[in-house]
C-alpha cells in the first residue's frame, strides 16, 4: 500500500540505515506521511459518537435563554416573576444574578453575560431559565416580561463613526494606518475599485450545546465543544467569581468548527444555572439561536486603488478597509491586523498605504472565522489585479507572474518573508494544468448546467469562464500573542498515550499526535486522551496553531521518552543513543550489531515526559502598521472554472484547481480533505452564504434562509500541486492547510465569473443580477 508522496518524506531526518527488511510484507503504514484514519471516524459516520447534545446526567434540568428581539433597545425593566411562578421552573437568572465579573470577552471584556441596560444586537441574551423540561424552559423564558425602549439601530458601518457611542468603549474598535514606502509615488496606470463582502456564518453541522454539572466543592464542570478550553474556563470562572481551578471545561466531540466554537454567552449562563440550582443543566441551541448567537465573518467594505507601470509591475497600492465588528470587539482587532497586513496580497509592492477600521454596529456579532481578514482583502486585491490586467491588455496570469512575492521580499508591514514563499511556482502549476473538457452539447452528454439537475439551464446561454487567484494567510496568533502548548507522552504496557489540551475540531490533531508518537517511538498503538481544562493549556484551535505548536510539543515530549528508552540500551552497548534508530517497530544501531524490537524494549516499562513548544515571539504593529507581527505564512494559488447562464445569472463552479504551499505532507488523506473542505467553504462564500439582515434584524436565521453548498454545488476539487518546501522554523516543516483555500477560493470564483460575463463582480456572494450579460461572442 503506497500513499502519495510519502515514499520520500516518511523517512526520519538523518541517514536511515536500511535494515534487512526488504523481503517482508509491508505493514499498515503509520507515522508521519501515512494516511492514518481518525480513531473516531467510524463512530462519527455511524452516528454513535456522543456529542454534547447527546450527554445526559441524572436529574438534569434544561436551560433556555431569552434573547433580544431588537437590535438596539434600552431595557426599561425585566420582570421574571411570571417565569419563576411557573411549575417546573427551578431558576431564572438575569444580569443581577451574575456573582462575579458581569462582562466577558475573548480579547476584551466588553460583552455582558446578560444585557443590563441596553441590548446591542438581535439575539443578545437577557435572561436564562432552568426547568425540568425543555418546553417548560422555553415557555418560561418567553414569560419573562421585558420592557424595551426601542432605539434606532446603527447598521451602516460607515455611519458608525459619527453615531453616538453604542458602547462605553466607543464605536471604533481599532484603527490601523499602514504606511510603507513613499506616499507620493504614482504609477502610469491606475485602477480603482469598491468591493463588498457579505456576512458568512460558520454554520456548524451541530448547533451549540452543553451540559453543566455542579461539583461538590462549589465549582462546576462544563461539558461543551469548546475549541479553547482554558480561555473558556477563565471567562466562565471570572463571571462566577470562582478560582479558575474550580471550573473545569471538558471538551466533548466538536460537531464542526470553522471559528471559535461555543458562544460563551450561552455556556456561562449554563454553568451559572447549575451553580444556583445545584443540579446538572443541559442546553441545546436551536438552529435559529445558533445563527443569532455565535460570531460571523466580518462584513467588509473595501476601497482600492492600484498603481502600476506600463509593464504591469505594481507601484503602489492604496486601500481603505472597513470591518463591521458587530456590537462587541471579540477578535476584530486581530482580523483587522490580518486584513491590513495582507491588503496587497502575495505581491511585491514598493509603496503600500492602507487605512483599516473595525467599528461597532448593531449588526450580528463578528469574530473569528477561518481566514478572517485575509479572505476579504483577497477578494478585493485579486479583483484589482483582474482590472489592471484588463486595462493593460495583459493576460491576468502574466500580470500576476510579474509581481509575485518570493522568500526574502518584504510584507507591507516591513516584515521580511523568511519562510518558503513559492508563489510563482504555485501559480504556474495551476496555469499549466489542462482545463477540464468542454461538455458536448448533445442530448446524451451528462452536463450539469448552472441551475441544477432539473433546472432551467440552456446550453446556448452558458458561458465558461476561467479565473485565477493567489491568497495568503498567517499561521498562529499574531502581534505578540503568547503561543505556547504543553504535551505529555507516556509509554506503558507497550502502548503510548498523549495528553495535550489541543482540541481536535476536525482538523485532525488527534490523528496527527498519534502519527508523531508512532514516528518518534515506533509504537503503533497510540491513544490521545480526551481534553479538559485540568491539563496544561494548549491554546485555541485556530489559525493552524496545533500542527505547529501542539504538534511540536508532542514531538519534543516523544523525543524525551525516546531518549529515556534508548539511553540504557546504548549504555549497554557502549554507544551513544544518537546512533540508534527506531524504524518499522525495530531499534537498530548504526552498525547493525544491535537489533531489537520496540515492543520488547517498552514491555513492562513506564516512561513519560512533558514538553512545551513556544515558537519565536512576534511584535504588535506600531502606529504606522509596521512590525514583525507574524510567525509564518502559507500561500495558495487556485484556478476556478465556472459555467454561467448569462441570461439568468446562475453560476456553477465546475472545477477548482488548487496548488498549495504546505511545507510538508503529514497525512495525505487528511490534507486533501482539509483542502476540499476549505474550497467548498470558499465557494459557499462566493455564491450563496450571506446572513442577511434588515435594519439589524437577522432575516431567516435557519438553513432554508441561509443556503450552504450541497454536493451539487460543490465543484470538483483538483489538488494540482502540493509544494513541500519545508519551513525550517515550523514543527516538521509543515504549514497549516485549512485556512488558505478558504481565503483564496472566493476570489478565484469571482475572477472566473468576471471572465465569463465581462461584468465587474465586486460583491460577494455574487448575486445573479451581477452575473447576467448581453448574449454575444464570449469575450
Amino acid at each position: 500500500m503506497t500513499t502519495g508522496p510519502d515514499a520520500t518524506t516518511v523517512a526520519p531526518s538523518g541517514g536511515t540505515p536500511v535494515g534487512p527488511a526488504g523481503a517482508q510484507e509491508a505493514p499498515a503504514p503509520f507515522g508521519l506521511g501515512a494516511s492514518l484514519m481518525p480513531e473516531d471516524a467510524s463512530a462519527k459516520t455511524q452516528g454513535t459518537f456522543p456529542y454534547a447534545a447527546d450527554l445526559w446526567a441524572e436529574g438534569l434540568l434544561w436551560a433556555a435563554v431569552l434573547r433580544s428581539p431588537h437590535p438596539h433597545a434600552r431595557i426599561v425593566s425585566v420582570d421574571t416573576s411570571a417565569a419563576e411562578a411557573m411549575a417546573g421552573v427551578c431558576s431564572v437568572v438575569t444580569h443581577d444574578d451574575v456573582p462575579g465579573d458581569p462582562m466577558h470577552g475573548r480579547r476584551v471584556a466588553d460583552r455582558p453575560v446578560f444585557a443590563k441596560d441596553v441590548v446591542r444586537h438581535h439575539g443578545e441574551p437577557i435572561a436564562a431559565v432552568a426547568a425540568d423540561h425543555p418546553d417548560t424552559a422555553r415557555l418560561a423564558a418567553a414569560a419573562i416580561a421585558v420592557e424595551y425602549e426601542v432605539l434606532e439601530p446603527v447598521t451602516d458601518p460607515e455611519k458608525a463613526f459619527n453615531e453616538p457611542p453604542l458602547h462605553p468603549d466607543g464605536n471604533l474598535v481599532r484603527y490601523i494606518p499602514l504606511r510603507f514606502g513613499d506616499a507620493g509615488a504614482v504609477g502610469e496606470v491606475v485602477v480603482d475599485g469598491l468591493y463588498r463582502i457579505g456576512r458568512q456564518d460558520p454554520a456548524p453541522i451541530g448547533a451549540e450545546a452543553g451540559l453543566a454539572v455542579p461539583r461538590p466543592d462549589g465549582g462546576v464542570e462544563l461539558y461543551v465543544a469548546s475549541t479553547d478550553p482554558h480561555a473558556d474556563r477563565d471567562l466562565a470562572a471570572a463571571c462566577y467569581g470562582l478560582e479558575p481551578e474550580r471550573v473545569r471545561v471538558v471538551v466533548t466531540g466538536v460537531p464542526g468548527a470553522t471559528g471559535d466554537r461555543e458562544d460563551p454567552g450561552t455556556t456561562i449562563p449554563l454553568g451559572l444555572l447549575a451553580l444556583r440550582t445545584g443540579r446538572p443543566v443541559k442546553y441545546v441551541a436551536t438552529r435559529e439561536e445558533s445563527f443569532l448567537s455565535h460570531a460571523h465573518r466580518h462584513p467588509t467594505l473595501l476601497r482600492y486603488r492600484h498603481h502600476a507601470d506600463s509593464e504591469g509591475r505594481l507601484v503602489k497600492v492604496e486601500a481603505q478597509i472597513l470591518l463591521d465588528a458587530g456590537a462587541y470587539a471579540d477578535t476584530s482587532a486581530e482580523a483587522l491586523a490580518a486584513a491590513v497586513s495582507f491588503a496587497a496580497g502575495p505581491y511585491v509592492v514598493p509603496h503600500v498605504f492602507v487605512e483599516g477600521w473595525a467599528v461597532r454596529t448593531n449588526n450580528p456579532p463578528s469574530g473569528h472565522v477561518r481566514g478572517e481578514g485575509a479572505m476579504q482583502v483577497c477578494a478585493a486585491y485579486e479583483g484589482q489585479m483582474d482590472k489592471l490586467a484588463a486595462k493593460l491588455g495583459l493576460d491576468p496570469v502574466e500580470l500576476r507572474m510579474r509581481n509575485v512575492m518570493a522568500t526574502g521580499d518584504l510584507l507591507p508591514t516591513g516584515q521580511a518573508v523568511t519562510c518558503p514563499a513559492p508563489v510563482g511556482e504555485l501559480l504556474k502549476a495551476v496555469r499549466d494544468e489542462p482545463l477540464p473538457a468542454l461538455p458536448l452539447d448533445t442530448p446524451e452528454s451528462e452536463w450539469l448546467l448552472p441551475g441544477g439537475l432539473e433546472g432551467a439551464g440552456e446550453p446556448g446561454a452558458v458561458r465558461r469562464g476561467v479565473g485565477y487567484a493567489l491568497g495568503m494567510v498567517h499561521m498562529l496568533g499574531a502581534e505578540g500573542a503568547d503561543e505556547v502548548s504543553t504535551a505529555t507522552v507516556r509509554v506503558h504496557d507497550g502502548e503510548a498515550s498523549v495528553i495535550c489540551a489541543a482540541v481536535d475540531t476536525g482538523q485532525g490533531f488527534a490523528t496527527l499526535a498519534r502519527q508523531i508518537v508512532q514516528e518518534v517511538l515506533g509504537v503503533e498503538t497510540v491513544h490521545v486522551l480526551p481534553v479538559d481544562s485540568d491539563q496544561p493549556p494548549a491554546g485555541p484551535s485556530a489559525r493552524g496553531r496545533h500542527t505547529w505548536v501542539s504538534g511540536g510539543a508532542v514531538e519534543r515530549a516523544a523525543k524525551m521518552v525516546r531518549t529515556q528508552l534508548l539511553q540504557p540500551l546504548a549504555a549497554k552497548f557502549g554507544m551513544s543513543a544518537e546512533l540508534l534508530t527506531i524504524a518499522d517497530g525495530k531499534i537498530t544501531s548504526y552498525d547493525g550489531v544491535l537489533s531489537t524490537t520496540v515492543a520488547e524494549e517498552v514491555a513492562g516499562k513506564e516512561l513519560w515526559a512533558t514538553a512545551q513548544c513556544r515558537p519565536h515571539p512576534t511584535e504588535p504593529l506600531n502606529d504606522s502598521g509596521q512590525g514583525d507581527a507574524f510567525v509564518g505564512l502559507a500561500f495558495a494559488a487556485i484556478r476556478a472554472v465556472v459555467d454561467v447562464d448569462i441570461e439568468m445569472g446562475s453560476i456553477r463552479v465546475v472545477e477548482m484547481a488548487v496548488a498549495q504551499d504546505v511545507g510538508r505532507v503529514l497525512n495525505p488523506r487528511r490534507l486533501r480533505a482539509r483542502i476540499e473542505a476549505g474550497v467548498t467553504q470558499g465557494v459557499g462564500m462566493a455564491l450563496m452564504e450571506n446572513l442577511r439582515t434588515s435594519r439589524g434584524l437577522v432575516k431567516r436565521p435557519d438553513l432554508t434562509g441561509y443556503s450552504l453548498p450541497t454536493a451539487l454545488d460543490a465543484p470538483d476539487v483538483r489538488v494540482v500541486k502540493l509544494i513541500e518546501e519545508r519551513d525550517v522554523v515550523a514543527s516538521f516543516g509543515a504549514k497549516a492547510a485549512s485556512a488558505v483555500p478558504v481565503v483564496t477560493s472566493p476570489a478565484a470564483v469571482a475572477a472566473a465569473v468576471r471572465a465569463a460575463t465581462g461584468r465587474p463582480v465586486n460583491r460577494l456572494p455574487i448575486r445573479p443580477q451581477s452575473a447576467v450579460a448581453a448574449p454575444g461572442p464570449q469575450g
Binding site: T286, L448, G451, G452, L453, G455, M648, S650, I651, M688
Partner: protein
C-alpha cells in the same frame, strides 16, 4: 405538542376523525408542517396521520382525466411512468427539493400549504386542475386556483383527497430558477402546457406572487401564432416576445406611491426578476414546441 394523534386506516375513518375534531391538522409528508411545529409557529390541537390511507396514494383514470391521490409523493410523481402521463407535474416534482424532501412531501401537502414557492402549484394552475374535497357535508370539486386564491377555501373538517388533472397528450414543461445548482426554493418558476385539442397554450408563473399567475393575454396571443395542424413551430423571436409578454404581465412595475418615483425606472431586483421570468418562459415555450 398535539394532544391527540389519530392514524386512520381508510379515507372514511380519516374524514370521520377530522369531522370529529375540525381543529386537528391532517399530516402527510410533514415537510412543511412539521417544520412549523418544531419552530413553534404551529401548535396543532391534534394530528391526523394520512400515511395509512391507501386510497390517497395512487392514481386512476377517469374520462380523459387522471385522478391523483393527495398523498402521492414527489418522488413517485417524478418517475418515468408518471412523467409519460403528466410531464409538467413530473418535472416539477423532480425539481422540488432534495431527495429526502421529495420522498416525503406530497402533492396534497403542496396544495394545502400553498407556499408561493410550491413547485407543483404553477403546473396545476396551467393544467387547470381541480381538487376533490371530502368533508362532513359531502364531497365537492373546486378549481385549484379558487382554493389557492382563497376564493373558495377549505371548510372546517374538509380533507383534500384527490386532484383531477386533464390528460392532454402533448408536451408540458416546467422550469425553475433557484440561483444555485443544488436544490433550492424557486425564485421564479414557469410552466407551459400545450393543449392541442383546444388549440391552446397555457402558462403559469410561480414564486413571484402569493399564488401562481396566469398571463392569459400572452397565452391567447401565442396560441394564435402556433400552426396547430402542422409542425407546431415558432420563430425564436416569437418565443422571446412571449417571454417578455409573460414577464411584463406577471411582474408589474411597483405602483409609484411615493410621488417622486418616475414611472419606467424599475429597481434592479425587479429588472432581474423580469429578465429571469422572460428567459424561463421563452425557454419553456421553446422546449414545449421543440
Amino acid at each position: 405538542m398535539a394532544r391527540t394523534v389519530t392514524l386512520p386506516a381508510s379515507l372514511d375513518e380519516a374524514v370521520a376523525a377530522l369531522s370529529a375534531m375540525p381543529a386537528a391538522v391532517p399530516v402527510a409528508g410533514g415537510t412543511d408542517l412539521m417544520a412549523s411545529v418544531n419552530s413553534g409557529l404551529l401548535r396543532p390541537a391534534g394530528l391526523i396521520g394520512l400515511g395509512r390511507v391507501n386510497e390517497l396514494r395512487g392514481w386512476q383514470y377517469q374520462d380523459g382525466h387522471a385522478l391523483l391521490g393527495a398523498c402521492l409523493t414527489h418522488a413517485r410523481m417524478g418517475r418515468p411512468d408518471f412523467a409519460a402521463l403528466i410531464p409538467g407535474l413530473a418535472a416539477a416534482a423532480r425539481a422540488a427539493g432534495p431527495p429526502q424532501v421529495r420522498n416525503a412531501g406530497t402533492l396534497g401537502g403542496n396544495i394545502v400549504t400553498a407556499a408561493p414557492t410550491g413547485d407543483a402549484l404553477p403546473v396545476l394552475a396551467a393544467l387547470e386542475a381541480t381538487v376533490l374535497l371530502l368533508g362532513p357535508e359531502g364531497a365537492r370539486e373546486v378549481p385549484v386556483s379558487h382554493l389557492l386564491t382563497g376564493m373558495d377555501p377549505l371548510r372546517p373538517g374538509e380533507l383534500l383527497t384527490h386532484v383531477r388533472v386533464p390528460l392532454l397528450h402533448a408536451p408540458q414543461t416546467f422550469l425553475k430558477a433557484t440561483g444555485r445548482t443544488g436544490p433550492g426554493r424557486a425564485t421564479a418558476s414557469v410552466c407551459v402546457v400545450l393543449d392541442p385539442a383546444r388549440r391552446g397554450v397555457r402558462c403559469a408563473v410561480g414564486a413571484v406572487a402569493p399564488m401562481p399567475l396566469r398571463p392569459l393575454e400572452a397565452e391567447a396571443w401565442v396560441a394564435s401564432l402556433v400552426d396547430w395542424d402542422g409542425e407546431r413551430k415558432l420563430d425564436p423571436e416569437a418565443c422571446t416576445a412571449f417571454g417578455e409578454y409573460v414577464a411584463e404581465a406577471c411582474i408589474p412595475a411597483p405602483a409609484p406611491d411615493d410621488g417622486s418615483a418616475e414611472s419606467g425606472t424599475l429597481s434592479a431586483a425587479v429588472v432581474h426578476l423580469r429578465r429571469t421570468v422572460a428567459a424561463l418562459a421563452r425557454r419553456a415555450l421553446g422546449r414545449a414546441l421543440a
